[in-house]
Subunit: 399 residues, 2 copies
Amino acid sequence: MVKGALSDITVLDMTRVLSGPFAATWLGEMGANVIKIEIPNGGDESRRNPPFSPNGTSAFNTTINRNKRSITLDLKKEEGKAIFRELVKKADVVLENFRPDVMDRLGLGYEELKKINDQIIYASISGFGTSGPYAKRPAYDVIAQAMGGIMFSIGEEGGEPLKAGASIGDLTAGMNSIIGILAALHARSIIGHGQKIETSLVESIIALQQSENNRYFVTGEIIRGTGSKHATNCPYGAYHAKDGMYMIGVGKNELWCKLCEQVLKQPEYCNDPRFDSIANRVAHKQIVCEILEGWSKQHSVTDVVDTLLAAGIPAGPLLSIKELADDPHFAGHRQMFPYMEQPGVGPFRVTAMPIKFSDTETKVYRPAPALGEHNEEVYAEMLGYDAAQLAELKEKGII
Amino acid sequence: MVKGALSDITVLDMTRVLSGPFAATWLGEMGANVIKIEIPNGGDESRRNPPFSPNGTSAFNTTINRNKRSITLDLKKEEGKAIFRELVKKADVVLENFRPDVMDRLGLGYEELKKINDQIIYASISGFGTSGPYAKRPAYDVIAQAMGGIMFSIGEEGGEPLKAGASIGDLTAGMNSIIGILAALHARSIIGHGQKIETSLVESIIALQQSENNRYFVTGEIIRGTGSKHATNCPYGAYHAKDGMYMIGVGKNELWCKLCEQVLKQPEYCNDPRFDSIANRVAHKQIVCEILEGWSKQHSVTDVVDTLLAAGIPAGPLLSIKELADDPHFAGHRQMFPYMEQPGVGPFRVTAMPIKFSDTETKVYRPAPALGEHNEEVYAEMLGYDAAQLAELKEKGII
């Protein structure tokens, strides 16, 4: 196991901030040769995003730009465009998350690039997709969550729509762009050439709701927030223990009776007419909650979860990243939070890919690059430029 | 554009309920030949999951099993195992979401299957991953959300942790399994053989929180719920208009001044010391909210969003699936909710893949199958069985 699954693939990563950089980082984690192309002055704007490491570098930027080398290139200058076209000849993938018309206006859209390299896979991530009436609207993750429908299903019962805590629009759009890129890589062997693939933040949010959208189409019902508890099952959700909260999933009568008999030691509730079906438990959910918490509030989350699992009842603690960071399973055995050595910072902890390959490596191949750190190395390797040529390009503000 | 990107790939889909079936449906939407293998009596348990179409079939099952053919096969019987091994010889991918030890106990784990077909890609989706102390715990989406850390960042300010409305653990695990499968397909050309890839629901949730986990590692801070509004920026979140809510993203001072001058027509607030920096606006977020809603509550969501966008301020309505289903951009131009013709049901609307390919098809190739609907077709096509052989297998309860 010495090579990553994508170790023969070169990616030109033109992306900024979150969705695109994240996608390119995962491509790199699977072994791809990822070249991050940044504007000469300042680079990716996320280099100025908090939080910051003690040396002043953006930790936000560092975490999603590992596994890349950085070069600078001004695509607004003709000489910069010419250099970019030369790089495209040597690459497999161009990944960008500009607004949909930017690359076309630069003369570097897919229609132009495929003339130079018909094997190139051009991946676009945008807010709304590259076509249609909303194509040019600005989109942040919060707007994607708002327009993608998911906020209506998040929130307290009867409360206002809320947003998800993580940037799930950016992240799932990044994941979808990887799926598109890898499928297009495979398709080269079928159709003989590359193609353009695109995804968007809002459409990625919409697609997360397969079941919820389906329910509306079939029943007309719009799923609304029900706090931390299931809308139509009980007890199925987060409840309180003595020192925190836990999740329990009593999906059917058999588990309810197990809970009453083996855990609560109140077998009489098993066939109590108030609780003898899912519908009846939901109708009496307040009493069910009191009965369950009457027991669980006397015990620690750990004890509650252990007891429930021992009885065969699905359960788990509510963990935050504080607990996860030291968890023997996730941090220990599964190595979800490896350290990398970030120059100027020291050991820097990141979140690993949640995909494990038996025969090809996924790992942090290199830390996040400083702006233009690999100009010399990459331009020499890919285009054969020497020090004098690079000095001239730098002098002219091209790189 | 006549072939899907994966049109030369055959997938044996052994999965049940949500994460796996969803992943296999997307593989099918990209053109893969997906054979859903179900137990002879009853099949995928999600065939009994609500909501139901008027003819009594599970709409839940239908929506995430399009693009597949269904065959039945009892893997607990020796003859069933033998048939499965024959199918594996003709397949590229085996996808399963059993608990980690099930396939091994059946004698059909990756170590066995690779002896039969060294090109096979074996993909496992589980709750916690196939190794480590939690490997055998039961996991539903809600438990993945609870243990994956994301609930802490969802909720009202100062309120309890909430869950996301959609099954984001199942869906992102499905997406991650597709990434793993496609990367492993590519890697066959590098390493010369297939491999096992695995992902899990909890790890997929953990990986969605790249930035939030990073913030904890760097600052020790745990991101907590801030309702529908941004924790450290203002006005950045969902606010009220006359007839609903809208999202606004005023990320910097320049946009705040645009808002005050061009939209609110109150230019004096631009440099008001209470509002002249992000930090000051956050400190006075209640007043900012009153000022903003003092204007927006007099107008419809549509007018508010149009006015904000015209002024260059990122904004969007809060849409539910009800609005999305008829939206000219998403439903119309982007075709996110196509109809398929489902036998016994009629036109059935699904949520499309959010990835568009310029040169290979993604489409609903076929409706969801009835249990064992394609026994004759698939067993003839893949193994050359005739009617008499199939009748005998049926008689013996193998299929």
